[in-house]
Symmetry: D2
Subunit: 173 residues, 4 copies
């Protein structure tokens, strides 16, 4: 059993009066999606599609394809595809959280913050065979510090079977 | 955000007719508590106290003491105390899950299964300073296979602040 | 500083009289290379090339290409490419070690053993930016048990700069 | 096989003319030993003894005692003792490396730098049973950055059997 998340896990709320407008928020979300789906070249190779860019509820999908197969006998996802997907999800969750932490900033200013982000280290647990048609990755921000952020990630298939989990540490500024 | 757990995460239920009696279940719980609090010598050094031995909801408490301090300036828990506690919690969660998986077996037979258990590897993320009076550790079984089990663990203080998380892989038979 | 490796890290030597012939060993090496470069589809996407399949000294090369880029500003390797490469290297080192442990078996019999291999969990440390033209991955078998194997991996660029390290745990039978 | 370490793994050498005197270096080494053996309370509980505080070759010993036992049947080291020891060794190796990086500073100035150090995350691989009389821990600094340091650690018994390895990430300033 896991304890309920506390307010310290997530950035402090910004008062509505100083928060970026809904239009500007949409610009940020669109920029986040473009960054993950197009500008990170290898994500494009994997075919990752962002389903939700909302802070605290990020979600990405990945569709099975022959060239993502690892084990030559079983037609399951290559471990590297899984680790790349979970690595990306952790960073994505932190970007969305930073967008919330700096909710008074423009989309452009927030995007500028991501130039220095990077993964420090990553653990992946390959729990069950990566068999399925569509895989969904999620991530929880367990800490967003001034310099370092930490996340826990999960990958499930279309039947909800937990395929893999991960923990990542990232430089966030 | 984390997806809802699926039935594959936990052992299949045993039909009530073949399940061990409530008295025998209490014997198993008592044996689990004695194992963790007394027979594992180093847990006794740490002062770990089992709050719940129920499968799917294991919980242990640890009280702050001067000799558990790590950093000589700040009076916070030594990282080794945290990793030892989370390591133990992962194994404990798997023991409770095995008690449920083999719910038709006597307490003695289940306890006999634990003789070969051991940690294969462990990751700990030290998210926030280990400051507090009482720390609570929990663990989620993410996979219970025939030979290998995996868990995710959390440690919070008495105010619910998330101090550390962990991931562990264990030999379970 | 790392202590000198001990005999327990590697499989026991097989007496020359029962060891497979040089021709059969070449068949095994060729099969290992074909498995890693061709049959594991995602390795083929990455473009991994085996330089040495010798037990205790496995080595793989990876050439930089635009679609392996992660960070959209800096032209460095995607973390997922690095984790996939190190994951593969750990498994490859264990396969070569199994080929030595069962040095009396034919290449076909050894290859048959690999059908059940898989990564249990993996840690990757991204130490420096993945910048370079050619990357070399190596792996050390730290334990080869009957059921579980453990490895430590390294990735350097053509100037010998240490880009990343990893630790992996694998099912080996 | 592991590639030869490159100059980038270690801090740049300081010219002899600006380097602290041998007497001041001895003061730093003594302060490092006192910090690890006495001031970190939990290390004192474990009984860790520093054998070498030399940058690039740090080494600590731990003697078996009944209260360090984990598994109640086999008399082997508790996993938490191993993880605490490796965690400490990684930090110790980074402290010694910082002492070399800032070799022009006084012992007091270098020690002052350690006030903000802390472990971010740690992985431990428990390779073989922790059986023995005396255990030796070593650590290699794989990166010493301005803010973050990374290490790989090893624990062997008195016969040189590799008991455990670890990887750690630390805040170094």
């Amino acid at each position: 059993m896991t304890p309920a998340p506390t307010p310290t896990h997530l950035p402090l709320p910004v008062s509505p009066s100083t928060r970026r407008s809904p239009l500007e928020q949409q610009r940020l979300n669109d920029a986040l999606v473009a960054l993950h789906e197009q500008q990170i070249a290898f994500n494009h190779v994997l075919g990752l599609k962002v389903v939700s860019a909302q802070a605290g509820a990020v979600r990405t999908e990945l569709s099975m394809r022959p060239d993502l197969v690892g084990h030559y006998l079983y037609g399951r996802l290559h471990g590297g595809v899984i680790s790349a997907t979970l690595d990306t999800m952790g960073g994505f969750a932190l970007m969305a959280a930073l967008g919330e932490k700096f909710a008074h900033e423009s989309a452009a200013d927030v995007m500028h913050r991501f130039a220095r982000m990077g993964t420090i280290d990553l653990r992946v647990d390959y729990l069950r065979q990566g068999i399925g048609k569509t895989f969904t990755a999620t991530a929880e921000v367990t800490r967003l510090g001034g310099r370092i952020g930490s996340t826990m990630m999960r990958l499930v298939n279309e039947e909800g079977v937990l395929i893999a989990t991960g923990c990542g540490t990232y430089v966030v500024s």
